[in-house]
Symmetry: C2
Subunit: 425 residues, 2 copies
């Protein structure tokens, strides 16, 4: 099963203490696709992995128990939303996000930056950080790299993200260049801030070791208490749609030595080819022995194309957001279940799908629920769509291990018809 | 366990074929409360029973699988809503309401009358029936007693209701009197219409027996196909808030010999004392060996008071509707989880409650979900509230069987504080 394991990336990576943080399992020979296993404080994540988005401490419409039944191995929490409501003091009071929402699997929290840029009012970006008024009650706040790390430490996610500026599309070259450089400076400050936080936790536990040498953060991770145990920090590559900026950003971020690397500033409205190019421009400069995460995308074919380009982790609101609009994913494209054609359709959303919705309900019934605005309708489509995305990752991993991923990807992409509904995003 | 079984009601009732449709188990000696078992085509219902309301072919926010987990033994479907959307032809196409919504337990369908009076536009009541324009697309339709029976036969509920006129509160004596008399005439037509439908089903099955003698409907029930098997027909007592009209209505409806008797026109805005009196005025004239159903109520104390007055079955939207407003039921009254006092509350909605919400989530987290308008919040409160209502019936049955119901009722009612939130209805 591991015949395709490429020797040059077969090394086991991890901390100075010999922890196997990112364990390589298989490398596709016809593409950059790979299988691995990422170990976090709350469990193991098989990659390529899809992370359902739990914006406000809940994956919309789905309970933690249902997420486990779907075999979701990790979910994403949005720092900005949680910071605004219920607020950090409340989540701290409950002992962190895991306990607050009763999800005992891994959580990745973003830095909050992206939502400040997309949702908050009167935002002002300076070298220091981002000042903004939140979109709920208009309260003013500042998130700096240091504050982003403190907030994420309090949330207690297993993977935390450096604060970055996500530039819009289109974006002038000069702005993208300056922004990417600032993102690098912010990334450095995030890393420094995490070490300070770690040392404070260490201090509060009665030890006094001073942080200085490389890998000290990993050493401290093991010493942290439950809430903060082994929080992995990912840096984010920016650079807009400019190949040379993507390269420079990747090199600069990698130089700072993170636990993993995200490619940000993609899926922000640019054409798909631009998005692919942005990833292709950065990827060669990311170390093969660390996880790579393409933020905020995408459609099922896009995920397979990204996997072929060496990406390991994804998050996307499409499966949950489109479900709320009555749109379901299938191997041959999306179905808008509001359409009259489904009113008398006794078939499940997708034949042979083993999700709860497909095993128990017809398209016709689900269409009725959606038309009647019954919550069960969006719940059932949400369960199906999340199952579809998670199962797509299962299939990708199996095909990579079998050495047949490239053919699988080509066939899937060819059979998948993108319909207008996909553009709702 | 059956020490309190009163000999005079210990007879086993049923059809001419010896079916045990309504089997008596216990009679409280200090009140009219009783325990029984009602057998329907899709299963047995232990009474006193609460029926969650599945207005549009879905108990709002809850899946059929969750209803089974809650040990709901019967649900209610609203004929008017289903008639308007998705429409009868669609539900027929799927083989009836059970198959359409994938609920294999008993269903009671109402006649549609109540919703025509409360929701439809331009309704016109004549001796023939009710003409109306529906509230969704304004299409005109007529529901007569005969049509109400045909629609309910097509829906395939286990218990169907006669068409009645539910008079508003307040209502003049003369109007209430004339209306109750028309409801009786409609009830007679409903019974006749059901026999015609049964004979048509019988005819379509290749037999030719003519319907004439009493109990023939029960004989035919056994001959019907799966969809229509043994549909029980309940008559409805009306009469507004007038004791003599309630008595006359009960006597006239009972004279027609139904499988069970509902008390309608209660919980329509009248003071609680009036509601109790309406039930007390009708109940003595209902046969003890048939189920009694008080329609569309009520609060937890009201249910226990009704049980003490000899009522066996209830349906009410309170547990699901209040849940969507953030209100949870407890033994000591309702909690509005939107209140700031719950923001840091680590306790479950109710201590010792074994529902999914209480076993896994805190008041503080559920409050956050409700405030953030996350669907999971109303789902969790809905599950708790339905569990509370269903468990209240379990407790009532156990107390009746133990001979301690009356003390249980008094203690519960005294401890239960009705707060403003209860008045949202």
């Amino acid at each position: 099963m591991r015949l395709n394991l490429a020797p040059e990336v077969a090394t086991i990576t991890g901390s100075a203490q010999g922890e196997q943080v990112f364990e390589f399992l298989a490398q596709d020979l016809l593409s950059k696709a790979r299988c691995a296993r990422l170990t976090t404080a709350h469990g193991v994540i098989d990659t390529p992995a899809f992370m359902p988005v739990g914006t406000q401490g809940s994956v919309k419409g789905v309970s933690p128990r249902e997420l486990h039944a779907l075999n979701a191995q990790i979910i994403l929490g949005n720092t900005y939303h949680l910071f605004v409501r219920p607020g950090l003091d409340v989540i701290k009071h409950f002992g962190g996000l895991h306990k607050f929402m009763n999800w005992n699997g891994p959580i990745l929290t973003d830095s909050g930056g992206y939502q400040i840029f997309s949702l908050a009012k009167l935002r002002k970006i300076t070298e220091n950080g981002v000042e903004f008024q939140n979109h709920i009650d208009g309260a003013r706040a500042l998130i700096s790299p240091e504050i982003a790390m403190e907030i994420q430490a309090a949330l207690g996610g297993d993977i935390v993200m450096a604060l970055d500026e996500c530039v819009p599309y289109p974006c002038e070259y000069d702005y993208a260049a300056q922004s990417a450089e600032m993102t690098t400076r912010w990334a450095k400050r995030c890393k420094g801030a995490q070490e300070v936080i770690l040392s404070e936790v260490e201090g509060s536990r009665g030890t006094t070791s001073k942080l200085s040498q490389r890998d000290s953060s990993t050493a401290l991770r093991s010493a942290r208490n439950d809430t903060f145990a082994r929080q992995l920090l990912f840096g984010i590559v920016q650079g807009g749609t400019f190949a040379d900026l993507r390269k420079q950003s990747a090199q600069a971020i990698v130089e700072l030595d993170f636990d993993g690397y995200a490619i940000g500033g993609v899926s922000v409205g640019e054409p798909e080819e631009e998005m692919m190019r942005a990833v292709e421009s950065a990827e060669p400069f990311l170390p093969k022995d660390k996880p790579r995460y393409a933020m905020g995308l995408g459609t099922p074919p896009q995920l397979l194309q990204m996997i072929a380009r060496g990406i390991d982790m994804f998050d996307c609101v499409l499966p949950t957001r489109l479900a709320r609009n009555g749109t379901a994913f299938t191997d041959t494209g999306t179905l808008n279940l509001k359409n009259a054609e489904f009113a008398r359709d006794k078939r499940p959303i997708e034949e042979n799908c083993v999700c709860h919705a497909c095993r128990e309900f017809s398209r016709g019934y689900i269409r009725h629920l959606v038309k009647a605005e019954e919550i069960l309708g969006l719940r059932l489509i949400t369960l199906h769509n999340l199952h579809f995305y998670l199962e797509l990752m299962n299939r990708a991993r199996a095909e990579i291990e079998r050495g047949t991923f490239d053919q699988f990807r080509k066939t899937f992409v060819a059979d998948y018809k993108t319909r207008d509904a996909m553009m709702i995003e």
